[in-house]
């Protein structure tokens, strides 16, 4: 196990980590700009007079079919997509890790139940699962985040349960048990810290998948409901405009790919920095 500072140093040292960090940083800056409202245009207000204008000094990314500034929409869209991804992954991490810990550590009936549910969720086609869940409730960004989270929960369960199974047999855990500490305490104080790096790696990878899943749901008409933009719904809505106004699709498409690339690179960097095995191979 390396310390937090050591990991940061390693992250910054790895090329992909550094590039990923820079790209993600830029995207975060865009999100912040959108959220605190320093951008000159509102992403939702429609302006009939300035429909489908190509990129210009006033509208950096041009305007869409409703005369909305695409730069403002991309910024708001990336904020929405990030919000959905972060909430979905956070939810999946908490639930999945807790279930994986409990199942792996306590074994027995709770483990059997948790493994059963995991198997079921794995066997259920993921996009169809998200799609059905997204149709059940009145759709908003939160219900979509929950739908995506449910798809990712079993991944987190599987990722944590395995190492926990190994850890519980390791000497220092046995030793702690021998001293009569409660099992919950051992689990939180001794087992959890040892799987943090695995979880962090999984979180960074899942973030980029979540952004893409939200985009796929948008494509099937079950993404973030308009008018609030998300990268996925923007790209989807602009597909018909590809020949008439290519910028309406290129801008959100490019930002989406960039965002996912950034997250993936960051994920790689984090894995290199945290995963002792991969570091050992260097």
């Amino acid at each position: 196990m390396s310390t937090g500072r050591e990991s940061w140093r390693l992250l910054l040292k790895s090329k992909s980590g550094l590039i990923g960090l820079i790209i993600t940083g830029l995207i975060v800056a865009l999100i912040v700009a959108s959220v605190i409202g320093v951008l000159p245009y509102d992403p939702i207000t429609q302006h009939a007079a300035s429909r489908m204008q190509p990129p210009s000094a006033a509208h950096w990314f041009g305007t869409d079919r409703f005369g909305r500034d695409i730069f403002a929409r991309v910024a708001a869209g990336v904020a929405n997509s990030a919000l959905i991804a972060v909430v979905a992954v956070t939810f999946a991490t908490i639930v999945g890790t807790a279930a994986g810990l409990v199942g792996g550590f306590f074994r027995g009936a709770s483990d059997a139940a948790i493994s059963g549910v995991t198997n079921v969720l794995f066997a259920f086609p993921p996009l169809l699962l998200a799609l059905s869940l997204a149709s059940v409730f009145t759709r908003n960004w939160f219900t979509i985040a929950v739908a995506i989270a449910v798809v990712y929960i079993p991944i987190f369960i599987r990722v944590t349960r395995g190492p926990v199974l190994t850890l519980r047999e390791i000497d220092f855990v046995r030793a702690a048990r021998a001293t009569g500490q409660s099992r919950w305490r051992i689990m939180v104080a001794h087992v959890l810290p040892n799987i943090t790096s695995i979880i962090i790696v999984q979180v960074t990878l899942s973030l980029s998948w979540a952004v893409l899943t939200e985009a796929s749901l948008s494509f099937l008409g079950l993404g973030t409901p308009p008018p609030a933009p998300s990268l996925g719904s923007m790209v989807y809505e602009a597909r018909t405009l590809l020949t008439l106004a290519p910028w309406t699709m290129l801008a959100p498409g490019a930002v989406m790919v960039l965002f996912v690339v950034g997250l993936n690179l960051l994920g790689d960097g984090v894995r290199d920095a945290l995963d002792p095995q991969s570091r050992g191979r260097k």
Binding site: I44, T45, Q46, A48, R51, R65, F66, G67, S135, T138, R139, G221, L222, P225, P226, P227, R239, T240, L241, L242, T243, L244
Partner: protein, 516 residues
Amino acid sequence: MPNRFKSGAIRLGCTAVAAALLLTGCSNDSGDTTPPTNNAPAQNLVIGVTSDVDTLFPWKATQFNTVNVMQTLYGTLVEFDENLAIVPGIATSWETSDDGLSVTFKLREGVKFADGSPCEAEDVKFSYDAIMDEATGAASRSSLASVLSVEAVDSLTVVLHLSAPDVVLLSNLAVINLAILSSTDTEESLSTTPNGTGPFKLQERKPSQSLILARNENYWGDSAKLDTIEFRVIPDETSIVSAMQAGNVQLSIFDDPVVAQTAESAGIKIQETSQLAYHVLQLNTVSGPLADVNFRLAIQCAVDRQEVLDTAASGEGEVTGPITAPAFRSDPKARPCPTKDITKAKEYLAASAYPEGATIRTIVSQGEYATSVNEATNVQAQLAEIGITLDLQVMESGAYVTAWLAADFEAAIALNGGRPEPYGMYNRYFISTGNLNTVAGYSSEELDTLFDAARQESDTTARANLYQQISKHLEDNAVWVWLFTSYTYAATTSNVSGFTPMANDSMQYLRTTSIS
């Protein structure tokens, strides 16, 4: 895009139709099912559709594409022409008794079903009786609400006995949900082997992929020019445009102006047709702020309909009042605030019980048609100017329809279907006993009286006058906020001719279409 036809009439391809009719007149073939051998290339038209038919039973067809397919397979007693006037179908003539309580139809001689069996008065009686039977679950049973009984006098004479005079009956009978079926057929048998009197018959069906129709040589009218029509399922509209560019598909109907524009820029011919269907902000006047007429008038005055049209539908359509049928169309200027008037809106609001404005729970469907959410956001932005907040609830079409039918909304952004006869279009909403009156959320004695009078008035001018009064009553009370009608776009490749799109979305002119 080329100039838009803005006058409110339907744009017609009359010359094309006339020419096609002339041509069909000369090319009557011998009646075998093989493609014509007189050196003419096989006439196989492919139509790109986004969804497969959901039933092959005409009485249960309600979805756009299903209705279109049924229209080519089946026939009705009377039909609409391209001006939406009633013309003969299976019946050649009809006569209403002096008291208006019975209508006698003379059937065309020699009409046959696709299987070769004759279509006679017994079949008409069988069909209408079955539609009226609740166990059948027919979609348009209510169209025959005024019919007491059906009598087959002889093989070519049918009499409908009515409970009260009903001038809209004929236009109801022209709808494919009242198709005439053979008395020997059942829903089960027709689900695999359609057997109608239309210009085409089923050749092959691959569910979710394609439906291929072949010319029906037993058709009573001029034989169709096309040998086959394939309705090919291409779920994504953009992919349909691609397929048309590559020449795999020759005809498609789009409702999204942007898709039509893209297709046009790719060299595909686009014919636009003004629709009877109307975009509307439905208000539920039963309770809350919307029960207050002044509050509703405030909403009506605060909405610039042209702006909604411009932003949501790229200006592709026409601002409308309640009645959209060309023959009776409401004057969109005849309303309390013909144009947006914030001062007046604020006056109305001040006079209402909610002078500070209120929040209105508004349902919006997503996915059913392209412009819904954009209309909603634009209306929302406009109403915010007078302090009225629309709380938009965007739903899947299934959830939306469920909420809509249960009248579980304060306001609803809707695209409601229109009919050539305004009585048939609105009676179910605005008569106090109408099936959808709870959804409409408004009724009044005056409206009941007007509708009743219109149903019994056989003089067209007098009826038009009654419809204007209905229209005025609806507008003066701001029952709903009628917004605009839009276009549909018939896209054809350059080798297709003779297709006339219609305001009721019908593709019946596939029977005169040809391909070179």
